[in-house]
């Protein structure tokens, strides 16, 4: 997979969540995603960026325009500041929450994108990567 363009931002609070959403929207429009896919992507970004703020006190969001063969898409990586998730399987379950939310953040976001990878190690940190192909 080839990266064509990359933009990085720090998300530390809820204002950062709004900025991350806006950035994702701009890239999605530039790539030419249709409105439904733009909306799905931006919603997933909103969930994951908020997760970072609520559970890890923030983190780093990297937006990349990528190319694989003839496919083009957006890859967005969320690097959480926090200590990692103890039970990933549980965290990915619909309706499970430790933060007082609805428990749709992680599993819901996975359904909104084409590829979803989560890596977490306790004491080290969590990284979520999503890809939306055009």
């Amino acid at each position: 997979m080839k990266t064509i363009e990359r933009e990085v931002m720090q998300v530390a609070n809820e204002a950062g969540v709004v900025t991350a959403r806006r950035m994702a929207r701009d890239h999605a429009i530039r790539l030419g995603l249709n409105l439904v896919n733009q909306t799905k992507l931006v919603t997933a970004v909103s969930e994951l960026a908020r997760n970072m703020v609520v559970y890890a006190g923030g983190g780093k969001v990297t937006i990349e325009e990528v190319e694989a063969g003839i496919k083009r898409g957006l890859r967005i990586t969320f690097a959480y500041n926090g200590p990692g998730i103890t039970d990933l399987e549980l965290a990915m379950r619909d309706g499970y929450t430790t933060g007082g939310g609805l428990g749709q953040g992680l599993p819901g976001s996975r359904r909104l994108v084409n590829e979803f990878t989560i890596n977490s190690e306790v004491g080290v940190g969590t990284t979520v990567t999503i890809i939306k192909w055009k």
Partner: protein, 131 residues
């Protein structure tokens, strides 16, 4: 700090969300709305989200809580104007907005509120159709 204005119109409260919602703004709206239902004695709340280009789980939860809170305070809440792309995304995200009344647009939402409250006060708000 910015705030979302709440307008009183007869026995209804009207809210149009025109800005990018961040979480604190959503919480403030929830507080302001419940307080205003209490002080104004409004029986209906209409929230127009036609300008919102996403509704995520936080925002969805807030809409659901507003609906429940106002209901136990004797006011119905109708959410109107959801964009098709937002509806598609919400369903895929796994949210169904339990307890929230929805209508296609402001007109239909007002009609819904008026009909629901019509029996108690048939005089003032006859629905006017001029199209």
């Amino acid at each position: 700090m910015d705030k979302i204005p709440i307008l009183k119109m007869g026995q209804f409260l009207l809210v149009t969300i025109q800005v990018d919602m961040h979480d604190r703004l959503a919480m403030t709206l929830q507080d302001d709305l419940t307080r205003m239902v209490g002080t104004s004695g409004a029986h209906g709340v209409l929230i127009d989200i036609s300008a919102l280009d996403i509704v995520d789980s936080f925002m969805g939860r807030m809409l659901s809580s507003i609906a429940s809170m106002t209901r136990i305070m004797d006011a119905e809440t109708v959410v109107v104007g959801m964009q098709p792309a937002v509806a598609i995304t919400l369903v895929e995200l796994g949210l169904s907005l339990p307890g929230v009344l929805t209508a296609l647009n402001v007109d239909k939402g007002m009609e819904m509120l008026t009909t629901r409250l019509g029996s108690s006060r048939g005089d003032s708000k006859a629905s006017h159709e001029d199209d």
